[in-house]
């Protein structure tokens, strides 16, 4: 009990003493846990709007379409079919007009009383009546049509009687053209030939719908329609989970830099703890406990922020019934907490154990870990101009830190490359959603949401990478106080030292920028393959080389302040202190 009290007290005191670092740790881990929470929440609830819409609309398990009504009547007697409605005649038109908007539509002739299968839920106004049509809600949303508005179909003036939701057809624009219901009489009055007949089917076992659809021509199962109807939520979920992986890796780098920097700074404290009788295990436990406390706080922040942000980041199609705020399941909460602890544990364990194993006398003497030596690079750097000479030598002193900078920047660069490519895909897809099948000027809710989520993830990644770059520059400048002061005492100018410290940040950045291009294209190809995309991608090859100078400029700007401060530190003060 006494040991536990000591561990908690030491951990809390140290956290309080280093509030800024603790806050940065919290932000880094919370960015990961928030994204993961949104991903898990959206993923767990992606099918719910479709399921609720199906239940509320007495949805068919399959929908058959045929040019001849007689074919559908025969299908109604097929084995496994327990109920049908219709067949309903449909007419395809290319001249539905609302105000000054003209678009194609499928007009379905319905009875004024709804049948046993496929009873659309009217969400505004009423059901079809003579002279009054009902517009599928997602289509109405794009048309900005409300009950009472005038609508012209094939030159015939009608009124919007209502807006409704159905699960017998995938909502607009995932299926085009948009759907409008009229009375059978009004359909006939359009004076256009019937294009096809539609029959909603109820099956004895809904799970057999895909097999039923495969066995009969022009039959679509509810599962197939559901996949299209909830496509945006599944795509958003996929983007969020991919982003979570990238953010988690960045968080590991961030935590590792902070913990490594703190440990170098805390080595004397470790010595003190050991000198007063703490065992190596207790020292490791204190260091781990400190960071795991932050991880738990970050998990709590992430769970709340993710739960709060989920509805804003992922909305089901307006063509489906809303299901309210998605719940956060206990299983999801456990995963989020476990990821926060794993990220922190992975980054803290090695330095904590290494710190605990440091001999008491050496730790009390205070020196940080001995810098690494690379004879080849030292010899090579002698041929370089002074700033590069200093940069190479400073970078190779701490190879682990350079690798962390490389990983952090390469992951961010890769995600930016894949986001650029994905954006190209979305733009191309949006460019295709023009023409008579689509409402002019109406946004595509599917691509809009994916675009939105990719932007948020990219922003979070860039922010975290920026924090990492600043932290790494800060850790490098602290760690190289003595060598840089010495270089200045031996004749290096403040400008040369500043440029050298900057070069030490830019070497891994240049490599990261170069690696980010193939890595980003691989992520993009993976995302396309996972999304089942066909055809060639929209990779903006002309822009890709700009990633390298872009990374360099961003890192140079971000690290300018810590590097400049380090380059101008009073030499005598540093040499006296060391």
């Amino acid at each position: 009990m006494g040991v536990l009290t000591a561990v908690i007290r030491l951990a809390l005191r140290d956290l309080r003493r280093r509030r800024t670092e603790a806050l940065l740790l919290l932000i880094a881990i919370a960015a990961t846990t928030t994204t993961l929470t949104v991903g898990l929440t959206v993923g767990g609830a992606a099918d719910r709007p479709w399921d609720r819409t199906r239940a509320a609309t007495a949805a068919p398990d399959a929908v058959a379409t045929s040019a001849r009504s007689a074919d559908l009547t025969a299908l109604a007697n097929a084995p496994g079919v327990t109920g049908t409605a219709g067949p309903y005649p449909t007419v395809s038109v290319t001249d539905l007009r609302v105000r000054d908007v003209r678009v194609a539509a499928v007009v379905q002739g319905r009875d004024t009383a709804t049948g046993p299968v496929d009873r659309p839920v009217v969400t505004a106004g009423g059901w079809v009546r003579r002279g009054g049509v009902v517009v599928e809600r997602a289509f109405a949303h794009a048309l900005k049509a409300r009950p009472g508005d005038e609508i012209t179909i094939a030159g015939r003036r009608l009124r919007v009687a209502g807006v409704a939701i159905t699960a017998a057809r995938v909502p607009y624009p995932s299926s085009t053209p948009g759907l409008v219901w009229t009375t059978r009489a009004d359909l006939r009055l359009l004076g256009r030939p019937v294009t096809s007949h539609v029959m909603p089917i109820r099956l004895a076992d809904p799970s057999t719908a895909p097999a039923f659809a495969a066995a009969h021509r022009n039959v679509r199962s509810w599962q197939d329609m559901g996949a299209y109807a909830t496509a945006e939520l599944h795509l958003v979920n996929q983007a969020l989970l991919t982003g979570t992986w990238a953010l988690a890796l960045l968080a590991v780098a961030c935590v590792a830099v902070l913990v490594g920097g703190r440990l170098a700074d805390q080595i004397r404290r470790v010595g003190l703890l050991k000198a007063v009788g703490a065992t190596p295990r207790l020292v490791a436990v204190v260091l781990l406990a400190e960071h795991l406390l932050v991880a738990l706080a970050a998990a709590a922040v992430g769970l709340f922020a993710g739960w709060a942000a989920a509805p804003a980041l992922a909305r089901p199609s307006t063509g489906l019934l809303a299901t309210g705020r998605p719940d956060l399941t206990p299983g999801s909460a456990v995963i989020v907490v476990a990821v926060a602890l794993a990220v922190t544990g992975a980054a803290t364990l090695v330095p904590a154990v290494r710190g605990a194993r440091t001999s008491t006398v050496r730790a009390l003497a205070g020196p940080a870990r001995a810098p690494r030596r690379s004879p080849r690079l030292v010899a090579l750097s002698a041929r370089l101009p002074v700033p590069l000479l200093l940069g190479v030598r400073l970078a190779v002193r701490r190879p682990r830190r350079a690798v962390l900078a490389l990983v952090s920047l390469a992951i961010t660069g890769a995600m930016v490359v894949s986001a650029i490519a994905l954006n190209g895909d979305i733009t191309r897809k949006d460019a295709r959603t023009t023409g008579i099948m689509f409402v002019p000027g109406a946004p595509n809710p599917v691509t809009e949401q994916v675009d939105h989520v990719v932007f948020v993830i990219t922003f979070a990644l860039l922010a975290l990478a920026a924090v990492n770059a600043v932290l790494i520059a800060w850790a490098t400048s602290l760690d190289s106080r003595r060598p840089t002061a010495l270089a200045r005492a031996l004749g290096a100018t403040p400008g040369q030292v500043t440029a050298g410290l900057s070069a030490a940040q830019l070497f891994p950045a240049a490599l990261a920028g170069t690696l980010a291009i193939p890595l980003g294209l691989a992520v993009y190809a993976g995302a396309r393959a996972a999304g089942g995309a066909s055809g060639g991608g929209a990779i903006p090859y002309a822009w890709l080389p700009a990633v390298i100078p872009g990374t360099l400029v961003a890192v140079a700007l971000l690290t300018a302040l810590p590097v400049r401060m380090a380059g101008r530190r009073p030499v005598a003060e540093v040499l006296r202190a060391e």
């Binding site: 030598r393 010495l486 400008g495 005598a572």
Partner: protein
């Protein structure tokens, strides 16, 4: 002619009641080829004076000239360039770069001054031979004794052929045998006409100088000429062999 001249040199820290005069109106002339030792108790401002003379710290007031060039008004960059060519430093804690070998440490100032790698290497080898450490060239500082490390530091201070070598407690971290090694080296430098300014609290080291200046509370309070009085080169006599 004085190679190094300070007139009314001051260094103050803090303000008001917290004002500390680390260096208080110091007037000092160091002649070319002379060895001057500054002695005094801990905290009297010896190291601060040395840092001021080497351009590592900026004076609060007064004038400072090196080889007749006024240096107290120089920018940090100009001072850095000056240190490359005109000043060599030897520190109490050696201040060698841990991850560089003895040879790489010695050639570092030459590289910083823009010398080609071959030229810098040749000069470093030559200086390591001069300080008797040619066989330790490939050793890291951690593998050298205290005396050897300080000899490497002296070799490094000489790379730029400086007008003056400033040594801050050069034997402060050394045992008796190592102190002898370093003093022998200083004797050799002195014989070659190298100007040396030593800060020390060891009378054995001070006794090797031509002139010993006593410092107290930031001010120079006394001066003893040892040249021709058994000091200077004469004091090194017992170190031979």
């Amino acid at each position: 002619m004085a190679i190094l001249r300070a007139c009314g040199l001051r260094k103050e820290y803090g303000r008001g009641t917290g004002l500390v005069r680390a260096v208080d109106h110091v007037d000092l002339d160091v002649e070319a080829g002379e060895t001057v030792a500054i002695v005094g108790p801990s905290g009297c401002g010896k190291s601060t004076l040395l840092h001021l003379l080497g351009g590592l710290e900026r004076p609060t007031g007064g004038e400072l000239r090196l080889a007749d060039r006024r240096i107290d008004r120089m920018s940090e960059t100009e001072l850095a360039r000056l240190r490359r060519q005109a000043i060599g430093f030897v520190f109490q804690a050696f201040q060698l770069v841990d991850e560089l070998t003895a040879l790489e440490n010695v050639e570092l100032p030459a590289l910083l001054a823009g010398a080609g790698p071959r030229v810098a290497r040749r000069r470093a080898v030559e200086l390591l031979e001069r300080v008797g450490l040619a066989d330790r060239a490939a050793h890291l500082p951690a593998a050298l004794s205290g005396g050897q490390r300080q000899r490497v530091a002296v070799a490094r201070a000489l790379v730029g052929r400086p007008y003056v070598v400033l040594a801050d407690e050069p034997t402060g971290n050394l045992d008796s045998a190592a102190t002898t090694e370093v003093l022998r080296l200083f004797a050799a430098l002195r014989a070659d006409g190298q100007t040396l300014l030593l800060v020390t609290h060891e009378s054995r080291v001070a006794a090797t100088a031509d002139r010993v200046i006593t410092m107290r509370d930031g001010a120079l309070v006394g001066q003893t000429n040892l040249a021709g009085a058994g000091g200077g080169l004469g004091a090194f006599a017992g170190l031979e062999g």
